[in-house]
Symmetry: C2
Subunit: 321 residues, 2 copies
């Protein structure tokens, strides 16, 4: 078992418990449901890995991990309400099972629970962890709002899209790494390099996610091919294509986005290829991945200690599409 | 100017500022809107009064006050979404102006902002303040859920109703007083008496609120007479009447609750009077008020120092209906 699996197991063993009281089951059954839709626990594992880079993990690592995982689950409950999503990871979403009002409130109480774990972090780390957590929580809300704002816009600039993606998904991975670094007693410089490592890795992951949705093999990704295209979603590919397309490609794209033609996915993919958005995305992912690596290299600990974080990055990012 | 007005002014002067950044206006304009629907700032004033009972108020008092006021406003945004309420205090609600999705997210970010202020509280008080705040925040969510659960029930027991009201409205007033006591360096015993003072006062206030909705003069209360009756809302009066009504009164009440007859309010009020629910409510309010007073008396400081908290209680509760 490598350290990634070890820390995942360590976190899961502690986290796999009842987090909520017996009373008010109408509220807490809904809140508990989201925790049965298990994710990869990426963010807690990132905290353990960053902490272990500097010092031995301890109860604070778990408490920070639980706080970030619960925060992430709170955002999933509320995002699913906003997106009217019936299913997440093959299971019914909270509002699908319990109604929107209870889901809204269940999200709130999962958020409170996140703060309960966070506030168990010991001194002298507590203050800095709360400050980073609060900043990040606000940014994640901003990212979700920007994502909703973009839905009503015909085009979004590449810069605005990167800002949104950073806020909505990358900053929480970045903050997880910094939380671990804080708990490990790292210098501010090392904390910041780990933050930037996580932020760039998160963006590289999202570029890859957008690419695979369009060009991935559904048998491997487990997702409907071109799901983003069918939903007219802004993605790295779409945003770039809209920026570089010529007049006829733009016209074709606009017409396709207003249609539900059988060949919609195929036709949009064709335009992506014509504008070389596929190659551009592969380069972009590599650029962000390399930037993440640069920051990991800058962290002032022996290189051999960084092997686990390198494996973490590699497990997230397939180096060849 | 008495101390209540002084502390209100002191809080308002500090709180009347921009709490949110310029960027992401689609999110932060919605979040800011709730703060333009000004309430009475009861909870911050309670913190100032409790703190000043033991020591001079300071920056911590303000930060705790801002945290509790923002938390209260977060619950208003989400409650208004759940209740589909278009108007609050004569102004459009957040979701009415900005849509449900943005309102949901604006509520979340106001909650984050509450924690930002809370985490500014200095050591050694921070830990105990956060613990109390988290416990209270979860309870307020539980109270809101119970309130929603009750909507679908034909009858609710008096005990269950008191539990719901305590959680939904009283514990935040109680916690505000305890927060002030913690910041003032009060003993745990004194903290608990102030908590119970606030909790009982909050329940007395709610009994009064329910009574005035039914029997108050609309010219004085500023509310539609019998609004709760028209909405078939569970109230202290309704819950008690359903418990003590005889068979014919119960039948009449059930039939009225399924009707929208012109005389609905008048007829329900008649049953309230027949079952003496009006006198019962007046006694009940007095009972909770006296229990609040008993706890205030138990606080181990000179009686003359308690004058402001007594005025606070009196300003909330009219001793004669």
């Amino acid at each position: 078992m490598n350290n990634l699996e070890l820390y995942l197991q360590q976190f899961e063993q502690a986290f796999n418990q009842k987090h909520f009281p017996e009373h008010t089951p109408t509220l807490y059954n809904a809140a508990s449901h989201i925790l049965t839709i298990k994710g990869k626990r990426l963010r807690p594992v990132a905290i353990y890995l960053a902490h272990s880079l500097f010092d031995t993990v301890n109860d604070d690592t778990y408490n920070a991990g639980a706080a970030v995982e619960l925060f992430h689950n709170f955002t999933l409950i509320h995002d699913d309400i906003m997106d009217k999503a019936p299913i997440r990871r093959g299971k019914p979403t909270v509002h699908n099972l319990y109604g929107e009002n209870t889901a809204l409130l269940a999200g709130d109480v999962v958020f409170v629970k996140a703060y309960e774990y966070l506030s168990k972090i010991s001194q002298p780390y507590l203050g800095r962890c709360i400050e980073l957590f609060n900043k990040t929580a606000a940014e994640v809300c901003e990212g979700q709002q920007l994502d909703m704002d973009f839905e009503t816009k015909e085009t979004v600039s590449y810069n605005d899209y990167v800002t949104m993606i950073s806020l909505k998904t990358s900053v929480l991975v970045a903050a997880s790494l910094q939380l671990g670094a804080i708990l490990g007693g790292a210098s501010l410089g090392n904390q910041q390099h780990l933050y930037e490592f996580g932020k760039n890795l998160g963006i590289a992951f999202q570029v890859q996610d957008d690419y695979l949705d369009a060009f991935g093999d559904p048998a491997i990704t487990g997702k409907q091919a071109g799901g983003d295209i069918l939903a007219n979603k802004k993605t790295f590919l779409m945003v770039h294509t809209q920026e570089v397309a010529n007049a006829s490609q733009t016209a074709a794209l606009n017409s396709l986005m207003q249609s539900n033609a059988d060949n919609k996915v195929e036709a949009v993919l064709q335009i992506f290829k014509e504008t070389k958005a596929d190659a551009w995305a592969a380069d972009l992912k590599e650029k962000y991945y390399q930037e993440a690596m640069r920051h990991l290299e800058e962290v002032a600990v022996l290189n051999e200690r960084k092997a686990d974080l390198l494996s973490f990055a590699q497990s997230l990012i397939h180096r060849a599409f």
